[in-house]
Symmetry: C2
Subunit: 306 residues, 2 copies
């Protein structure tokens, strides 16, 4: 699966993933009213608004970016109705030719991790027939439980040609609390990074592995070190834009050929219509603003890399 | 919320939680046939079988145990249909007077963790009205992202009188890979345990905090150390039974008054009807076998503690 993502990155010349993390406050009045009129001021109505909002963004960026990353928490907040929209969003994005990274940060012990992996990347076996659940292309995975929490995801990836990104160093301010603690003189995130490289050996797909890593844009120095520790892991980089990361901070996450990393922006793209910088779209032109913001982000990264 | 759980533990004299982690292979032919006949050999049919199975167990144990712990991964494996059954199971267990611990192991950065917390323990705000999503009483939380991943859960707990159990030392064989690594001479799980105690100070409810910890029965020595490090944290102990933990291993997890810990058993109770020990229920008497196994487990723990 990682080779498919890389092909799309090469074709679009955009190592960018658009984070589909909707909130009601990001959604223009027009979409809210239509959705609430149709389904009520209820979780069903809010979920409908999320879906219409996502569709406008997907339609506007699907030819210029390789991938989207819906953050399942935003949907889970609305319960079942939200999760139905999560699934519809995954399907719609794939229909439009996008790669879908499910930002689910799951992780549990052996057989339980397998259930998550099957539900998100594989297919459940019901009396000999296979049924896929959410069917993303990639999922993010939390490594705190160690190899037997991660391995079932890799097995499912190998069976279904899918991929994962394992949390190594996250973009949030308190990520250092545990991740930066020194073990034999080296921070925990380096130890996790080494494991990612090892785990990845069993799922190579071209020059990179289907086992990638999450490293926050907000920690560029650590990105550089981790790039070297994990030569076969693609790095998913959150934290660009709203969280403070900029193009020039990202150079160390990439390999010399401009591959090796894909940078996520959520709010900076999906809520661009509400920002001062894109005030020409302030009347709710969600899609046009998202496209403009994605193209600006592409240029910012290009300028830094080449 | 922790005081409600403690009241129920005292009343039932059973520091036991039944893990509702269904698999098709645990479900008797009778329930499978009825469910598939009604809803097809599909995720909807499998989810119906999970629900009927769970109901039989809940009906049989609701007067002798304080709580159940559905593992959401098992439901997520079946996609949306499975999650509908997860929600119906939460509701049914609460109707029957049980406390529900959602074993969801979520955790993300700030606002994203808040969405998970709202979806599972709180209520989403839709134009001024509140709608609860899954509405468990407790949820399990992964601490790898540090304080700003955990704090939003605690805030929601405080607003809605709910609780969490934070993963500290998990029961699986490879949990030591990261959790046992030494930081300034002490294992990471102790550092996490100290944080749990600190986090808990902002959510005290009687002698214990609404912020508890997960520590595996398979590591009794560590349980003892962690009991001392986290005097105000209730400990949720997985790994009893099928994973190898026994009553006499559990003493160190408890306080002197027999409080301070609640022990989970999943397969050992819900699939008891399939085991040799309970062969009198082998013709698919799921509920009767679960009750017998729960009573045996209660006695095993009582004998060890008193």
């Amino acid at each position: 699966m990682i080779s498919k993502l890389i092909d799309k990155i090469v074709n679009t010349k955009a190592p960018i993933v658009v984070g589909l993390d909707p909130k009601l406050s990001f959604i223009p009045e027009r979409i809210l009213r239509e959705s609430f009129d149709e389904k009520g001021r209820t979780p069903a109505g809010a979920a409908e608004a999320f879906y219409r909002f996502n569709r406008e963004i997907i339609d506007s960026v699907c030819d210029i970016v390789p991938a989207v990353k819906p953050q399942i928490a935003m949907y889970e907040e609305l319960g079942i109705e939200g999760l139905i929209t999560f699934k519809k969003t995954v399907d719609y994005a794939k229909e439009k030719g996008l790669i879908v990274i499910g930002d689910i940060k799951r992780g549990d012990i052996g057989s339980t991790s397998e259930s998550y992996a099957v539900g998100h990347l594989g297919a459940a076996d019901i009396e000999g027939e296979s049924f896929s659940g959410f069917d993303e292309d990639f999922a993010t995975v939390n490594p705190y439980l160690g190899t037997d929490g991660v391995k079932p995801f890799i097995d499912v990836c190998n069976r279904h040609d899918k991929g994962i990104f394992v949390l190594v160093k996250t973009s949030n301010p308190s990520s250092g609390e545990f991740q930066d603690r020194l073990i034999d003189g080296r921070p925990l995130y380096e130890i996790v990074g080494e494991q990612v490289e090892k785990w990845g050996a069993s799922s190579m797909d071209g020059s990179y592995s289907n086992v990638g890593a999450v490293v926050g844009a907000t920690y560029p120095e650590m990105g550089k070190v981790l790039r070297d520790i994990m030569p076969h892991a693609y790095i998913l980089v959150p934290g660009y834009g709203a969280q403070g990361g900029r193009g020039k901070d990202l150079v160390g996450f990439f390999d010399r050929d401009g591959l090796g990393a894909i940078v996520n922006s959520s709010r900076g793209i999906i809520a661009a219509w509400k920002s001062e910088k894109y005030s020409q779209f302030a009347d709710g032109k969600v899609g046009d603003a998202a496209r403009a913001a994605a193209l600006d982000m592409k240029k910012d990264i290009e300028d830094a890399l080449f």
